[in-house]
């Protein structure tokens, strides 16, 4: 087995057809499955999984895109920090493209500000060492997957005695977001596909309270198409048997306990925030992390508090991202989808990042008109 087999072995069309046939045979009732993670949304759309699955299986695209759920006021924080004199702002992913209330990091960079989109967060340390006379601010985003990486950075900054590196922490957590969606009582979700890489770090134990409280099966799934197909089959079987437990399809990388070293690093440097506002969903208690008080000297939100805007900013009222994230609507149901709201000019959270549900529908949508439910 090679790394190619580890990818191609989970993309075999024969396997997918066979799994689709089994699902078709065994699925007896309508099942709405929320895939929490934006990576799964893309697998489903890119490989056209909805087309080979029976109509009874409906995917609901959850809030698992860290760029998408960032409220505009925090994008404005990044913009304010990057606008400070003598400052380098570093971040990951397509955060740089997302518009805040007036501009984006990308536009600001074009105007001459030093804004860097990193491949690896570890580059922050190198940038700080190479620029001792500048403030280097890392705008940290991501779910449980990337939190330990930020913890390693804090650890290294302390170990190396770096005084010019600061962290704006926007790390969010999956279980609280899922709970917020389900506790409203109006979300139409029967089961969950558990995220792949969040679960590598946290272990699948974190979903046990959700499966129990809402009587929804949770199957942690890998990212390849046969992983998702097998996970759907496992969900169908749980529902047929009247079960609602956490199951692990992605056993080649995920365990119940997860990566304990990574969890310990996170617990050393971070603690829960009382509240965090999620774009499209609203305020969710205990759903994000911040640096512990003893690391305040590294916390950009404390050190640069005077430049950070405080006003909460909501999306345009035409945007239905909140309903999309709760499974009550599909991107095609939105009046502005693909018209006023596009990946180059996004109005709402689900379009801002390539991982968002609307961006995925925009890119692959012609293959997926089945998704256009009333």
């Amino acid at each position: 087995m090679t790394e190619v087999d580890l990818i191609e072995g989970f993309r075999d069309p024969e396997h997918m057809k066979a799994l689709a046939a089994l699902i078709k045979k065994e699925c007896k009732s309508k099942i709405n499955i929320m895939e929490v993670c934006g990576g799964h949304t893309h697998t489903i759309m890119k490989f056209g999984l909805s087309q080979i699955l029976p109509d009874l299986i409906e995917f609901v695209h959850g809030p698992g895109c860290p760029v998408c759920i960032m409220p505009k006021e925090r994008i404005d924080h990044a913009i304010a920090l990057a606008s400070m004199p003598n400052t380098i702002l570093a971040t990951l992913g397509d955060m740089i493209r997302v518009p805040g209330s007036k501009t984006s990091l990308q536009k600001l960079r074009a105007e001459g500000k030093d804004i860097r989109s990193l491949y690896s967060p570890m580059d922050v340390i190198k940038i700080a060492q190479e620029n001792p006379d500048k403030n280097v601010v890392f705008f940290a985003i991501g779910f449980e997957t990337t939190t330990p990486m930020s913890a390693v950075l804090v650890q290294q900054a302390i170990a190396l005695g770096l005084k010019n590196v600061f962290f704006h922490i926007n790390h969010v957590t999956v279980p609280e977001a899922v709970d917020a969606i389900m506790s409203g009582g109006d979300a139409k979700i029967d089961a969950f596909l558990g995220p792949s890489h969040v679960s590598v770090i946290t272990g699948y134990k974190i979903y046990e309270p959700i499966a129990e409280k809402y009587h929804t099966p949770v199957v942690v799934s890998g990212f390849e198409p046969t992983d998702v197909m097998e996970s759907v089959l496992r969900i169908v079987r749980q529902i047929n048997e009247g079960k609602s437990v956490v199951d692990n399809e992605y056993a080649r990388a995920v365990s119940r306990e997860g990566n304990l070293k990574a969890q310990e690093l996170v617990n050393t440097y971070f603690e829960k925030r009382e509240h965090f506002r999620w774009r499209g969903i609203g305020d969710i208690p205990k759903s994000a992390l911040k640096l512990k008080a003893q690391y305040a000297a590294y916390d950009a939100e404390i050190v640069f508090d005077d430049v950070l805007p405080k006003e909460e900013l909501n999306d345009h009222k035409m945007c239905i991202c909140g309903d999309i994230l709760k499974g009550k609507a599909k991107p095609f149901d939105c009046k502005v989808f693909g018209k006023a709201c596009t990946p180059t000019n996004p109005m709402g959270s689900c379009m801002v990042s390539s991982e968002g549900a609307c961006a995925a529908y925009f890119k692959y949508g012609k293959l997926s008109l089945k998704g256009a439910t009333a």
Partner: protein
Amino acid sequence: MCLSIPSKVVEIDENNYATVDTMGVKRKVTLDLISEPVNIGDYVLIHVGFAMNKISKEHAEDSIAAYNEIVEAMKDGSIAEDEGESQYDRS
């Protein structure tokens, strides 16, 4: 953001960095998040320059073997490709 790819460890240096091969592309990643021993030839899951975990080849092979069995079962007729159609039409 969450894209990560199985990669093979080809070298490990004294700073706990590994050179990994991802489908022919080589790059350096830190092993700082992994507590268990990592050896040359192991497969790791890479995310933004960090190895997050080792990948179990045994589990991967088990999954693929199970899929092959389903395909075989379909070929010998114990699972018909269009089986279940009537159930799903009724709903």
